[in-house]
């Protein structure tokens, strides 16, 4: 930080040793509804952790408490050693939150938004201009830098939003559902931006509804539902708990199903779903297994409609870990959700 007015705490003894996030028994209620229920969370400096859960699981409430926007009803949380209630102002100096909805002034241009954030973080005119120029370059905002936020696409807004969160390089970056509502291409762009930040050593807490996203970005995943932790671990561990990925083969003719299974039995442990005319085999080796299956089938000359690699989804995870799908719970919560998120 070259600028001397930057309000980054230089005299913070706690920060070098304290974990980026340390939360214990964190609880938030809205009336009768408990949005976050005694949640513990530990994130080491430099780690990338994802809070994974369906809509209304308490993810946003959790990150809002960590970012000092909501007061916990019970429990405590420390960010880089600072308590989110007692030391809220210190916490705001080290944390940067990018919310579920682009937190930008839509009547300002991209560049004006960034400059405003730099000014509010204490930078003078020259420094703010320089920082803005750097961020515009880096997040590929050049093209639409002088367009009003309300006139640019969702994916472009996300980029400006991310850039605004990275003025002063926060010690902890919190991204609340960074790709929700984006088209697949914009999602890829946001992912690659996030990956780049991670390689630079930013500590990241990321919430998402997509197992795929947690898998792609995080090195640890905490699965939550109804404000409680259901499971935690590396994406690989979680997927192992959920069930492996598999290859599904759909036979054209149901009568040939047994024959198809016996062909595949030579190489794999098969399971048959008769109504779907499907034979499934576990595919821990990803595309390699898919290739072996395809090979075996083409040798056997049995007609098939479809051969596909299936990866476990968040729904599978919920089914495996809680016994009911995520969607069902979401609709249970809908009336109260307004208060929760």
């Amino acid at each position: 930080m070259s600028n001397s007015t930057a309000p980054t705490p230089s005299t913070a003894p706690a920060r070098s040793t304290a974990p980026a996030i340390e939360a214990h028994g964190l609880t938030k209620r809205f009336g009768d509804f408990t949005a976050v229920d005694a949640l513990d969370l530990h994130v080491d400096t430099g780690a990338v952790v994802s809070l994974l859960g369906p809509n209304g699981a308490g993810k946003t409430t959790m990150v809002r408490m960590l970012a000092t926007l909501l007061r916990p009803d019970a429990g405590y949380a420390r960010i880089a050693g600072y308590d989110v209630v007692a030391d809220a102002n210190r916490v705001r100096q080290v944390i940067s939150l990018t919310g579920q909805f682009a937190a930008l002034d839509k009547n300002l241009t991209a560049a004006e938004n960034l400059r405003l954030m730099a000014h509010l973080r204490g930078h003078g005119r020259v420094a703010a201009r320089k920082l803005t120029a750097q961020l515009i370059e880096r997040f590929d905002i050049v093209e639409f830098r002088d367009r009003l936020i309300k006139n640019i696409s969702g994916g472009q807004r996300r980029r400006v939003d991310l850039a605004a969160g990275l003025i002063d390089k926060p010690q902890l970056l919190v991204l609340d559902e960074p790709t929700t509502g984006l088209d697949p291409r914009s999602r890829q762009v946001v992912w690659s931006t996030i990956r780049e930040l991670v390689t630079e050593g930013v500590t990241l807490l990321l919430t998402t509804q997509y197992l795929e996203e947690a898998d792609a970005l995080a090195d640890r995943v905490v699965l939550i539902d109804h404000g409680r932790e259901i499971a935690a671990g590396t994406p690989a561990q979680l997927k192992a708990q959920v069930g492996e990925q598999r290859v599904d083969v759909v036979a054209t003719d149901g009568a040939e199903l047994e024959q198809l299974a016996s062909v595949l039995d030579e190489h794999f442990t098969t399971s048959i779903a008769r109504e779907q005319r499907t034979v499934s085999v576990p595919a821990p080796n990803d595309v390699a297994d898919l290739a072996r299956v395809t090979h075996a089938i083409s040798d056997s000359r049995i007609a098939v409609d479809e051969v596909a690699l299936r990866r476990p989804t968040l729904d599978d995870a919920f089914l495996a870990l809680t016994g009911h799908p995520a969607e069902e719970q979401q609709s249970d919560l809908t009336p109260k959700q307004g208060a929760a998120v």
């Binding site: 007061r71 579920q100 909805f101 937190a103 930008l104 009547n107 509010l120 973080r121 204490g122």
Partner: protein, 279 residues
Amino acid sequence: MSTAATTSTTIAPDRSGHAVRRYVRDTVLLTARSLRSIPRVPERLLDVTIQPIVFILLFLYVFGSAIHVPGISYKDYLFPGIIGQSLAFGIIGAGVATSNDMTEGVVDRFRSLPISRLSIITGQVMGQFCEALLGMVIVVVFGLLLGWNPHMSLGHGIELLGLMLLAIFAFTWAGVLAGMMVRSSDAMQGVGFIVIFPLSFMAGTFVPIAGMDAIPRAIAEWDPIAALVASVRELTQGVHSSGSWQLEHPQLAMTLWCLLILAICVPLALRRFNRTLAS
């Protein structure tokens, strides 16, 4: 005030010497942000410009011929009323803008920055204050162009300006508080239509209070907007109102109303802001 409020205004020790300067700087930055959107969303000024202008035209050229106020031309009677009404409409404008801001997430970002939360809300108030002031200037200029003829001494002019600024300030705070309490800007429009609209119509704005039916007259005699209208009328046209204590001492009454509104709305708005916000 809650503990959150106390902690949020605490500045880190290494910057404690600059707390006031930083507060002023952040307020100026946030006011400027608010003002920037005026030319980009000119429809935000509708409440305080086009609406009063429509009323001026309607009452001056459509209904006015049927209204006779003894001792004063209807034009000179009407404009003080319109000024009072458009100041009151500023409550709705401030409320709508605030409720839009609060539901859009940008305020959340400000709240997660290491700046004083007071500066966020004073920035909002100052932005809305300037907007209402601009609307006021437009209405007055429009009135003068149409032949409104205020005659007053320099002393009365200063008194009038002071009173209008105080009223805009108080109304803006009331609007900002209302904007934080409603669920959406549509709800704010609705509240404005149900509460502010009738109060601003029965305040001796277009017709004398004395001629009203008993119940509306009783309300109008203690309607703060009526005190404002009576003040403007007294200062610009030398017309004294009568009917209730506040109408007989309108400037004093309006000053007291403003102080009361501020005494209630400022702490409530700060408290509300430090509590959670919807989003």
